[in-house]
Symmetry: none
Subunit: 207 residues, 4 copies
Amino acid sequence: MVRRLTSRGLKRRDQLINYAASRFAENGFHPTSVTEIVNGLGVGKGVFYWYFDSKEEIFIEILRGAQRDLRRYQQKAIENESDPVARIEFGIRASIIWLANHPDFFTLLQFAATDEKFSRLIRAGEEIAVQDVAQHIREGISQGRIDEGDPLFLGHAILGVTNQLTRVLLFEKKRDPSVVADAVVRFALGGLRGFSGVIAAGAMGGK
Amino acid sequence: MVRRLTSRGLKRRDQLINYAASRFAENGFHPTSVTEIVNGLGVGKGVFYWYFDSKEEIFIEILRGAQRDLRRYQQKAIENESDPVARIEFGIRASIIWLANHPDFFTLLQFAATDEKFSRLIRAGEEIAVQDVAQHIREGISQGRIDEGDPLFLGHAILGVTNQLTRVLLFEKKRDPSVVADAVVRFALGGLRGFSGVIAAGAMGGK
Amino acid sequence: MVRRLTSRGLKRRDQLINYAASRFAENGFHPTSVTEIVNGLGVGKGVFYWYFDSKEEIFIEILRGAQRDLRRYQQKAIENESDPVARIEFGIRASIIWLANHPDFFTLLQFAATDEKFSRLIRAGEEIAVQDVAQHIREGISQGRIDEGDPLFLGHAILGVTNQLTRVLLFEKKRDPSVVADAVVRFALGGLRGFSGVIAAGAMGGK
Amino acid sequence: MVRRLTSRGLKRRDQLINYAASRFAENGFHPTSVTEIVNGLGVGKGVFYWYFDSKEEIFIEILRGAQRDLRRYQQKAIENESDPVARIEFGIRASIIWLANHPDFFTLLQFAATDEKFSRLIRAGEEIAVQDVAQHIREGISQGRIDEGDPLFLGHAILGVTNQLTRVLLFEKKRDPSVVADAVVRFALGGLRGFSGVIAAGAMGGK
DNA sequence: TATGAATGAGTATTCATTCAT
DNA sequence: GATGAATGAATACTCATTCAT
């Protein structure tokens, strides 16, 4: 939808995005109806469709906004650091802090990754984040600080640890963000250094 | 629902579970209708509600079955191994192989974790798996093979790496299961060993 | 929609078709809502969609049924007559009688011809009727009873006269069907015989 | 709505009428939204409601304008002809030429005739046109050039032939307007002369 | 005159679930 | 055990119209 918005319109749009995000996070995307959103805001149904073409569209806008914001936060956390391993660490810590400050978005991103309609977007965002990390990993490898290994694999591994520990420790067990971050960093940097003595590679066979 | 089923009835129930699982995996839980399931099987709607109280119930049955099956597979892979680190490795490898053989269930479990209605079940299953691993981790720590650290944290970290790399490398990038397993094991065992030189713990602060 | 219907189901379907036809005829297709139809029948909304995929579909069924019925009626009126001009006359009279007995369908067919979604169907039905007449016209021409002329043009001309006089005389001015039929037949057969002295063919030019 | 319009305002009004007419003709009246009209013109919604009270009103304006214009065109074609049969012929030819030059209006008039909201207007317009023709028919009868018969019936018959052949031959089969006009004139004048030997008047009976 | 914003009843359609047979 | 039929609340979305500026 292309619409020239006045400042009043921009405010409305933001209001819709924020409220919808909170409802989606609490109830889930499918179970949250447009009616629920507009009623919660005390506006008519047409308002919603004045700003968005569909329920899908507003969700995508929410996701994009979250991805953009998270990425900016990560980059800002890194910008003055030249050591690649430190950049990785700072990136992890920034992510966790951002997620702690935007718990709704965490839920939303997790769900979106499982829904065919949005997963492409999430994948793309993840890929960008992983590319960022991969670059630092490559530098770390060339400096001999990180063991050889596919930087993209390693980047995804870090992402996996970060997400899982954030969900469990931060959101479920309500640990302090810095505690969570310490745990993630410890595991992730250890993982990057790798483990020479793989015991039984391929030893178990398939089905 | 508790119903005494004939062997024919058991077969029907299985048929429903399997077909529903494939539909849910392909379309998502919410977008898949009961009508779609019974039509796809060429039976009437009564059949569905003879065996299950609701669409939620069949989904829960699917999830439970998947969790049970995966756990059995993991345990079988471990039963003759006494070395704790090897048990961890074998557990990881077994998980990846099982997931490779049940791609539908992977999708389903991922989604279920994000839906309030099912997440409790998923969390419980995860917790059990993590407890298993934690036990090995404890042994490993006491043998001095793994660095000090909260075994539950570490268990979740392993789970996070496994899930993420399975999704990305196995399902998206179609890598061979053994390649994926090698990557996961390498990172996980490295992560367990930890990283003594955390550079900036807590240095960045919150918002 | 392909559905095996019980006799109860067939009855419901008929009921829906008949009631919907009357509503469409009275209010028009667009202004008549599915809700109005099911409420008028005192059934749930699902009933409608059990038998028809859409509002369009039921309308098409109505049109098809009307076309089929009208055609049968025309053919029955003609079957024992061998004289081609008499066949034309009998066909016209039969059409008018049928329309007099199915005033709703007349309205429906007229509307359908103007709506892109249904006009193809109406055109096809008209074409069939016109082909029938054209055959008799050809015979009439070869017997020297009808002047030379494109039989399809003439068939459409007859259709036009029939429709217009039926609408105006029969439905608006409430004339007796036989009076209407006499008027149509008189004009149509005169028109078939043609007019040798066209006064100013092409004399007026285009725009 | 009565509004004193500046010349700029009159232009806007015309623009709206013309564009709306083209949309209505292409999509149908009901399916065309006011939004579609104003967006297509790149103006705000207020503009529409400044000039017209409702969507119905603009449609009625369109119809009235078309009727007025057609009637003027017919009258101009006839004004210098005194022979009644020739006046009929010229009227028919003029109508077909006008319709050929205003294909949108043809569609619109056809639809309007089927919609309760507008049919009164269309009927009135038709009645005027038919009265015009009826006058010539009466003259023709008194001159012994046209057989006895109700002039209004005959007038409607001519209208029916004209409309049907225009639709089929001109718009669907893309015949040249003069060819269409020849066919209509031939049939209409033949029809006016009538057919003495009605074979089976009333012989078939009603239901 | 004109705009962007807002209204809210209305639309077609879906779907989990129940019922009668 | 199983079927076709029925329910009716709910859903996403539309649209003629009005309002504030």
